[in-house]
Amino acid sequence: MQKLFRWASKWWPGLIPLAVMWGFAAWNNTLPVEADLSARSTAALKGTVLDKTRIAVDGRDVRLAADAFSEEGRRDAVTAVETVPGVRLVDDRTRLVPEAKPFVWNAERDVVRVTLSGSAPLPSMKGRLTEAARKEVGGAEVADQMSLARGAPPRFEAAAMLLLDQIGKLKDGKITITDTQVNLSGMARELGGREAIAAALKNLPEGFSVAANDVKAPPYIFQAYKDPVAATVALTGYVPDNNVHAAIATSASRKFFTEKVVDNLKASIGAPGSFNTAVVAALGALSRLSTGTLVVSDREVKLSGDALYEGAANDIRAGLGKDFPKNWQYKPEITVKPAAGPVDGTVCQQLFTDLLAKGKIRFVAKRADIDPDSAAILDHLIETALRCPNTNIEIAGHTDADGEEGFNRALSEKRAQAVIDYLVKAGLPASRFTAIGHGSTQPVAGNDTDDGKAKNRRIEFLVR
């Protein structure tokens, strides 16, 4: 031992080169040590859930700043860095993310964009929600403005995912979760979308409830366009179901006696009440126009086009009859087609014959009441009668051979008179017309078939 002390007293000169070495070692290794410890600390934090993580290494001391989502997560993160080999001290600058009270999350949709805002409980969930929104809306842009906060209710993610599934069904609108209350507003993309959303909301996770669902359905549109050039009536838009569809199609084919009905209607729920009545009445008015457009949007009926003569225009403007539903709005924009030039009696007769070959004036069975579906052909007959003002016209009624001849003759005359009354009401002088009832004495077809009988029941216009 004595020896050792003696030797050691002579070791001091080596300290000078040792100090030089120390200086070089420090000079060379400080930055590599810091970089190495920084990388190791970052790797150690991989398994932890943190936000805004910043690691700064000074020598072997690590300053860890991060937002944690629970006290346990915060402690785990600090411990993970503390146990990294080589780390001397950890300066703990971690904190818990603020707690949101109430915890609010929004998904807002406009035409081109979905914006997610409010609070999300975890960064990974934030990513999943954004991804789900992106998948749901296809091409639209998804803007993530969510911040992170604690305090989300249990099963928040399931609720948010379910609501994101609904965002695709909205044209525009906003979905909000406030703690466990769900609010929805906006406009559904398609008819039935509102109902589909309401149905989906029944599957919200336990604990969540719908505070307000103000999603509106898009307008229920029905359109008809009468094109005199193509001789078609195009029906587009929606009808409530197949029965109403069939009823409207049948009614249209009866009302439009010269035009072909092109039926492009689709069945969809969401029709306003009394849809069928309103549409049938409006189609009746459209059938009286030479060209026109009918747009039924929810409870609003817009009819525009040209009537055949002034009286018809006034009649159409006046309304759609007593059956038109009370709480519906009717907006007619009716002009009058320029009057066609006058023609002589022979031409007039030809025009009458042509018109009555294409369609016929219908009556209620066994009675002399004119079927409202005949308004279109009557308007055309009146327009023709106006073109030959100096002629007298005999209106002849015919029946089929069913029933007693006396009754048939009386009925045919009454029907002819009903037509005259209609013409006079439209503004033609009564003196030009005479009614005659032929009963079943002048059949144009056999009375042994329904088809033949239908042909025999007719009104003829004869220019005298």
Binding site: K3, L4, F5, R6, W7, A8, S9, K10, W11, W12, P13, G14, L15, P17, L18, M21, W22, F24, A25, A26, N29, T30, P32, V33, D36, D58, G59, R60, D61, P85, G86, R88, L89
Partner: protein, 98 residues
């Protein structure tokens, strides 16, 4: 400690070799070396530095440099001891022959 050793292995071996040379020389060197009082003071200083290092009171890079210096110094002392002891054995074996 294992981290410091493995990261600076080359430098530590260097300081061991330096110490070995110094120890090797110190056995046969003439002269008095440091006085007892100075040696005590130096030992006290070294102990104080070790205490400071273990207490981790020196922050950041200075703390790291202190640790590095002490570990180099420790290796140097180990090298000195080994060098001096071996030289002593060599010297004492050759003495009877001479």
């Amino acid at each position: 400690m294992p981290y410091l050793v493995s990261f600076h292995l080359g430098w530590l071996i260097g300081s061991v070799l330096l110490g070995f040379c110094m120890g090797w020389i110190s056995v046969v060197q003439r002269g008095n070396g440091t006085s007892k009082v100075t040696a005590r003071w130096l030992a006290a200083l070294a102990a104080a530095l070790v205490a400071v290092s273990f207490a981790r009171v020196v922050p950041g890079r200075f703390g790291y440099w202190l640790d590095l210096g002490l570990i180099l110094f420790a290796c140097y002392l180990v090298g000195c001891t080994i060098g001096a002891w071996l030289r002593d054995r060599v010297v004492s074996r050759s003495m009877p022959a001479a």
